[in-house]
Amino acid sequence: MEQLNFDGSERFCVFQCHNQWYGISALDVQGVSPRPAIRNVPNSDPVLCGISHLHNNFVPVVSLRALAQINYEHDSNSQQQLLTLPGPPGPWGILIDQVISLAPLEVSISSFSNANDQWSKVLSGSASYRNQVVQILDAKALYQYAGSMLERFWHNSVSADAELLVT
């Protein structure tokens, strides 16, 4: 495991999702809010929970459980929170269970970051906080991973529709 350079000034937003602790750089976080009303998008991948209207912005909401391929039934817990991240076209959010803290972490680069697995590219490292292992997420990689999954789903869906039209 390679030790990341850490000057102690970078803070991470530590949060919990399905008994897993995750951390993301505070500079990549726009804000935290209680779960807002989310409207489902028809014929979309389960990764996309829906669209929400937050602070006068339409925010697409992505399920972290679906991205991490964690066994789950449904992200309908009212106690969930929405972690808003800045994106190229605008803010987007991921549903989490609870923000634990905003703390500086000593991050170690994980060895599986170069693997072919897409989810492994999202995980940039790990840290220890309150006797818990915190997986450090790369916000840009997470955004690209979610976008690729949605594009693949919609592409497959359009191809199936075209084949259906041809036939």
């Binding site: 803070r11 505070a26 726009q30 804000g31 935290v32 209680p34 929170q81 905003l102």
Partner: protein
């Protein structure tokens, strides 16, 4: 004894009167003869009047007894027998009075004959014509016949009177014994009634005590029921207050929940402030410190809210248990109050029964006391009857003695009538009887 003297005196007077009549009829001096006849007649009339006055009370008493059949019916057996004997004695006495009336008629015939002899003014009876002697003989024969029948009837009546009087004495003796026995029995009954009366007095006292205690118990139980009702009302008020307290606790829980929500929002707001300060870089360091402090306060508030919530949940649990206990207590109080009310009703019935029992025992006591008084009066009446019976026995003995003397007198009169018959049957050799042959010659001087 007094009756015997009276009869003897009357006989003596009759003898004197007869002697005067005889002397007046045979004397040669008209004035002396007329005086002797008048004196003899007056003595006879006086003697009969005196005898009537002497025996009038006894005759009235017997007549009164004979005229009271209701007393005969209600009297005991001995008294009824005595009254029957008295009635027979009354009949015999009536026969005797009738015989005396016949004798008086015969004496009047003699007096008329003597008057006719005096009118003729003859010198001696021996010189008289045969017609006069025959007439005198007829008169004496008629007189002896009548007197003989009357004397026999008088003797028969006297014997019957003697037998009845003996029965009367025996009946009075039996009556006295029966009254004595009845008095003894009534005395025993009076003793028993006295014992019953004492027991009833004790029962009256006991029933009074029972009634008083029943009244006190009734009053105390009524007070107890009032207190129980007050406790039930207090329990109801307490139950309502506990319900209100539970409602307030729920409201406090709601407020604390709101506070918890605010604390959570504050925490989230502080977190966002910290994120913004981080994104602000060096310019946001001071703001990060403030946001961190706010977030710490928010966490403390959240922790306090959690503690308060736990306490409130505990209070709510205890309140619910207390309310449930108060409800159970209220139900139990209702059941106990219902039982107490039923017991109070039963106590009232017991009290009424005790009062009725006390009144009944009082009535029994009054009746027993009255019975005791009546029994004592019966004893006194029986004692008085016994005294009266003893007096009747003395009277009956006197009547018996008189009847025996009357029999003796009848016997002597029968002897005199026999002598008179013999003299009347002697036609030619008529002579007056000697003084020793007279019926009353052997009569004792003290009689």
């Amino acid at each position: 004894m007094r009756t015997y003297l009276s009869i003897a005196t009357s006989n003596l007077i009759c003898i004197v009167a007869g002697s005067l009549l005889c002397y007046g009829s045979i004397t040669e001096t008209p004035a002396v003869g007329t005086g002797c006849l008048i004196a003899g007649a007056l003595l006879l009339v006086g003697c009969f009047g005196w005898l009537l006055l002497k025996f009038q009370p006894a005759m009235q008493w017997l007549t009164q007894v004979a005229k009271s059949p209701e007393q005969v019916d209600s009297a005991p057996a001995g008294a009824a027998e005595i009254i029957a004997i008295g009635q027979r004695f009354l009949r015999v006495s009536s026969d005797s009075i009738r015989a005396n009336a016949d004798a008086s008629l015969e004496l009047d015939a003699i007096r008329k004959f003597v008057a006719s002899v005096n009118r003729r003014n003859s010198v001696r009876i021996a010189d008289q014509s045969g017609s006069t002697l025959n007439q005198l003989k007829d008169v004496f024969e008629s007189l002896s016949r009548t007197l003989g029948e009357d004397v026999k009837q008088t003797l028969t009546s006297g014997k019957e009177l003697q037998r009845n009087t003996e029965k009367l004495v025996g009946g009075v003796e039996q009556q006295s014994q029966a009254i004595t026995s009845t008095t003894s029995l009534v005395n025993k009954v009076a003793t028993q009634i006295e014992q019953v009366y004492q027991n009833v007095k004790a029962a009256v006292s006991s029933s009074g005590i029972v009634r008083d205690h029943s009244d006190q118990s009734l009053n105390r139980f009524g007070t107890l029921i009032d207190h129980m009702k007050k406790v039930r009302n207090d329990s109801s008020v307490r139950e309502r207050k506990l319900s209100v307290l539970g409602q307030h606790t729920r409201e406090i829980g709601s407020i604390v929940e709101t506070i918890g929500t605010i604390s959570s929002r504050t925490d989230m707001l502080a977190l966002n402030a910290s994120i913004e300060s981080v994104r602000a870089g060096e310019h946001g360091r001071g703001f990060a410190v403030v946001a961190e402090e706010v977030r710490t306060l928010a966490e403390q508030s959240a922790q306090a809210v959690l503690d308060i919530t736990a306490r409130i949940e505990s209070i709510q649990l205890e309140t619910r248990q207390t309310v449930a206990g108060a409800s159970d207590e209220h139900k139990q109080l209702d059941e106990v109050l219902q039982l107490a009310t039923e017991t109070l009703d039963e106590l009232k019935e017991i009290n009424d029964a005790a009062s009725q029992s006390a009144n009944s025992v009082n009535d029994i006591s009054y009746a027993t006391q009255k019975q005791l008084v009546l029994t004592q009066e019966i004893v006194e009446s029986l004692a008085s009857n016994n005294e009266v019976s003893k007096g009747n026995r003395g009277v009956a003995e006197g009547v018996l003695w008189t009847a025996r003397n009357l029999g003796d007198v009848g016997n002597r009169m029968d002897d005199a009538v026999s002598i008179l018959k013999r003299q009347a049957n002697a036609n030619t050799n008529y002579s007056f009887p000697a003084s020793s042959d007279l019926p009353f010659a052997d009569r004792p001087a003290n009689a």
